[in-house]
Symmetry: C2
Subunit: 206 residues, 2 copies
């Protein structure tokens, strides 16, 4: 097995992960390695040895959270009221993001594309599409709404969350209410965002 760190190294790895988790939850994904190392009481060499690529660190830290979000989508799929499921899904996801800045950045693509998240979306998109289909059939959403529009609402609400988290940590709920009500009631102009566009929306335009 590849897993056979020396006992002290394993302990350090854990401390490092715990420290990084905490810092990234509070300050976002791009905390400097130096800050993490200092907070963990180690040298920079240690963190670079263990996670030469930042993405490995992020993946190690957040894969559970991401699975949780996928779980939300699955639960939502089981909701008899599809539109309510959709709302609840976005709400729960944003609650996590509100509590964890790094997770929000990860899910909404700040800090670059992530394979972890890409795969999660691959699992969630069909679920969301199914929910939207059911909601449309039930007359709770206008025809023409696509998963891409949900992504747009997620990004929109996320931008309010990012801008107000320090000073009004619940304001995103207002934005979410606006976004969801808008989806229900808007006459959507133009073409629905295609896959490539959704990819961009979720990667901060990059």
């Amino acid at each position: 097995m590849t897993t056979s760190l020396r006992r002290d190294a394993e302990r350090n790895r854990r401390v490092l992960l715990d420290t990084a988790r905490e810092l990234m939850a509070r300050d976002g994904l791009s905390v400097s390695y130096e800050d993490i190392a200092r907070a963990a009481g180690m040298g920079m060499g240690t963190i670079y040895r263990r996670f030469p690529d930042r993405r490995d660190l992020v993946t190690a830290l957040f894969s559970e959270h991401v699975d949780t979000v996928v779980g939300f989508a699955e639960e939502a799929s089981g909701d008899p009221d599809a539109f309510a499921g959709l709302c609840r899904f976005l709400e729960r996801q944003l609650e996590l993001e509100a509590a964890n800045r790094g997770l929000g950045e990860l899910l909404r693509g700040h800090g670059g594309p992530s394979e972890l998240v890409r795969r999660a979306r691959l699992r969630m998109t069909p679920l969301v599409a199914g929910l939207i289909g059911r909601a449309v059939a039930a007359g709770r959403l206008p025809a023409g709404v696509t998963p891409g529009d949900f992504v747009a609402v997620h990004v929109m609400v996320g931008s309010v969350l990012d801008a107000s988290r320090e000073i009004a940590p619940d304001l995103w709920r207002r934005a979410l209410a606006v976004g969801l009500a808008g989806l229900r009631h808007a006459r959507l102009p133009g073409d629905a965002p295609g896959d490539e566009v959704v990819e961009r929306l979720y990667n901060d335009g990059k």
Copy 2:
């Protein structure tokens, strides 16, 4: 008068402004001074001598645009249909932002607070408040909507614009439709964003 640059310096200043205007419209406010200087065919010293503070450059470049936006607000105020005026106001503003990335960043506070924009908002906020009041009175908006909620919608739509401008330059119109319909139909939870929060929303959380 303070204005008495040597003729060559005056010419250079104009070239510099034109070049910077073009680059900032395309790439945003934070183009490096080096890029501007190179594109203008000058040394970096020249641009630093003329605009030691980037904000002076930005103000010189965008004050007309900002006045235009204030003009939009004034025109909107004159609209007999207050809600339509509000919609049109946001739409026109975003049209400008779509055509000019730097302007969008300026108006939505990426790249730091700007005195120019702060003053413009001081003039626009009462106009928007008046429009909202009339729209509420006309039953086109629910009571409880505040200028801060409009700011939030602006920020929300702007985030979609920023993320999709390169690949789907009209997608923001969809987001705008969602935002405006949402404002009309949402039951807004929590407290309306206060002045300090609006300031944050418009300054990218900083």
